[in-house]
């Protein structure tokens, strides 16, 4: 059986409506205009209204398009499962790196070198041939950046503030 909507055709207007509701909710908490006609709530209300109208129009337009098209819609190309897994793993490495930096368990250079190596390994197509280069580049980039931040730009490093 032919589907009436693609998933994205439902999600996009729904997100727009949700955002419009959030804007309206936030705008309702703002004080009224005092020195000029529009006030701080004017823009959020305006954008909320516009998003609401656009999402309704989007749904109507999608419905009309589907009704008009006689051909069976071609399914959107699906990402390979291992590509999705790799993306999620990559994101997990990034989040873990940020959490470790925030907690201050290890120093900036150590955390960064491990992060660069792990993310590189996740993204690499030929890991065996590249691993040594990966580790060397990761260490050089982390060390160089750490020294630049502490010695030249005099920035307090995140977490425990230590280099290692």
């Amino acid at each position: 059986m032919r589907r009436l909507f693609e998933v994205r055709d439902i999600v996009v207007p729904l997100v727009a409506v949700g955002l419009a509701a959030l804007l309206a909710l936030g705008a309702a908490q703002l004080p009224p205009a005092r020195f000029e006609p529009m006030g701080p709530a004017g823009l959020p209300y305006g954008v909320a209204l516009a998003l609401l109208m656009l999402s309704v129009l989007d749904v109507v337009s999608t419905l009309l398009k589907r009704r008009r098209s006689r051909a069976v819609p071609v399914a959107a190309p699906q990402s390979a499962p291992h590509a999705v897994g790799r993306t999620l793993l990559g994101l997990a490495v990034i989040v873990a790196y940020l959490l470790i930096l925030q907690s201050g368990w290890v120093g900036f250079v150590t955390a960064s070198a491990v992060f660069l190596t792990l993310l590189g390994a996740v993204l690499s197509n030929r890991l065996r041939g590249e691993i040594f280069v990966l580790v060397a580049v990761a260490f050089a980039v982390s060390m160089g950046t750490g020294l630049l931040l502490t010695r030249v730009l005099v920035v307090v490093l995140p977490g425990n503030g230590a280099l290692f």
Binding site: V12, P31, D58, R86, L123, V141, L153, V155
Partner: protein, 503 residues
């Protein structure tokens, strides 16, 4: 004229030349690497410019812009992978030429065309910008508001997917920009009790998130194996000679098309290349060769995409309205350096405004020389595994954000916008429209509120003032045109079917 000459004098100092060469070379190299583009590189390097003089920072970024649009042609020709979206049309003819052993010729055609397109459009930039800026000084708040509205409608109309989706993306950008302090009353809007959001969603985390992190996420999912690369010999790069002169008409026409499309607010170099390519095919004596290695195709696409860079600088410098997504980031760079984008730049910061114009020309020459001499080497750089490039890009995003804001909170925000950008790509929402909405929202709001105060809360002057009315009519035309075009197509389609059946 004297200001422009003075700017050229300044640009030939050691540091300006250093940054122009560095920016152009970086731009060409990064532009050649598929998956990394001008917007990404400029967003990535924005934090670095914090520590630079504002004129040097801007000429550095503009040089990157010039370089990156040109660099896309290398991978498009040698690897069938456009380094930047603006090189998509070059791929159609560049790669077939390379496959039949004419890689050097294809590249040199593209490089010459990029150079000449850049030169012609630069003349228009230098001639048009100052008088347009003087004219724009007459604009009142409603004129500016309507101009912003027109720019948003234009980017939505030409962005990927439908106009509605483009407008929704721009609306998301507006919504994001709404968060933070209200300029007039000082109250914090829509922070929902999160202290970190008191300053709103800052420019850098937002831009780096939607441009860089979302692109990295997209590249993570791309598991395609490296593509076979065509070889190019150095001496082939100089094989064009006088034969190039037969493309003069095409070059001139594509330059004008590219510059004009660049000037239109919000429309970038990809559209310029597509339009110029289509016009070249329609007017060619050998349209059947297009897509199979046509020299005319390469010339049209490369001339137009480079011409659009200078064209896009016209509204940026004269009106403070971005001519493309990259220009939106450049406006962000101006704001970061506490400079007010708009016609006032020519009177208040002439060294900057004319400096940018001068730098665009010098960068064009640097691009020409560098690409002619090093295209083969740059092509080899494109083969660096993404396992090495992408983690470093992400790391420098983190470092850039942290050094400028000093808060890990902003890195989380950047990551969140990376996910938002990824979802927007999936949902068919234009990231360009989102960024333009985000950048233009404060300008639109401030002009509208000033207008309302000036005219006692009346919106009527939007219609009674001629310039404002012109922008309003143009905006309505942009909005209505796709609907009219669709209807006409629908009416024409059954007619064509009926006539086919009769015959």
């Amino acid at each position: 004229m004297s200001e422009l000459l003075a700017a050229f004098g300044t640009m030939f100092g050691v540091w300006p030349i250093f940054y122009i060469v560095l920016g152009t070379v970086l731009g060409v190299v990064v532009g050649a690497i598929p998956g990394l583009g001008a917007a990404m590189l400029i967003a990535l390097l924005l934090p670095l410019t914090f520590y630079m003089d504002s004129v040097l920072a801007l000429i550095f970024l503009v040089s990157i812009y010039v370089g990156s649009v040109s660099g896309g042609l290398i991978s498009a020709t040698l690897m069938k992978m456009p380094g930047t979206p603006s090189a998509i049309m070059t791929t159609l003819d560049g790669y077939p030429m390379a496959m039949r052993g004419e890689a050097g010729k294809a590249l040199s055609l593209g490089i010459f065309s990029s150079f000449v397109g850049g030169l012609i459009s630069w003349v228009l930039l230098a001639v048009l910008s100052p008088p347009l800026a003087r004219f724009a000084l007459r604009f009142g708040p409603y004129e500016y508001f309507m101009l912003v509205l027109m720019a948003l409608l234009l980017i939505s109309a030409v962005s990927q997917g439908s106009v509605l989706r483009g407008l929704i993306a721009a609306g998301f950008g507006f919504a994001v920009a709404t968060v933070g302090p209200d300029v007039s009353s000082g109250v914090h809007r829509l922070t929902f009790g999160v202290d970190g959001l008191h300053a709103g969603f800052r420019l850098l985390p937002t831009l780096l998130g939607v441009f860089v992190i979302s692109q990295v996420i997209a590249d993570m999912a791309d598991t395609a194996s490296p593509i076979q690369q065509a070889k190019v010999r150095f001496r082939d790069m100089f094989s064009l000679g006088r034969g190039y002169l037969r493309h003069s008409g095409n070059v001139l026409r594509s330059s004008v098309i590219g510059t004009w499309i660049g000037i239109l607010p919000g429309v970038g170099s990809s559209v310029a290349a597509i339009v110029a390519y289509s016009v070249a095919r329609n007017t060619s004596k050998q349209p059947e060769t297009f897509g199979k290695g046509s020299e005319e195709g390469i010339v049209a696409a490369e001339t137009a995409n480079n011409a659009s860079v200078n064209g896009a600088l016209v509204p940026l410098l004269a009106l403070g309205i971005p001519g493309s997504v990259v220009d939106a980031i450049l406006i962000g760079a101006l704001m970061i350096h506490n400079l007010q984008p708009g016609p006032g730049l020519f009177t208040q910061q002439p060294d900057l405004a004319y400096g940018i114009i001068a730098a665009a020309l010098i960068a064009n020459f640097v691009m020409f020389g560098f690409m002619l001499g090093f295209s083969g080497l740059i092509a080899r750089l494109c083969m660096i595994p993404k396992g090495l490039i992408l983690p470093t890009v992400v790391f420098f995003c983190f470092v850039g954000i942290y050094t400028t804001t000093g808060r890990l909170f902003d890195i989380w925000i950047m990551l969140a916008f990376g996910v938002v950008g990824t979802l927007m790509r999936w949902g068919g929402l234009s990231i360009g429209a989102f960024v333009l909405g985000y950048i233009l929202s404060p300008i639109a709001e401030s002009e509208l509120r000033t207008g309302l105060m000036l005219y006692d809360g009346s919106l009527w002057p939007m219609v009674t003032r001629p310039i404002s009315l012109t922008f309003l009519v143009a905006s309505l035309a942009i909005l209505v045109w796709p609907v009219v075009r669709q209807r006409r197509r629908r009416v024409e389609a059954p007619t064509a079917i009926t006539s086919d059946q009769q015959s």
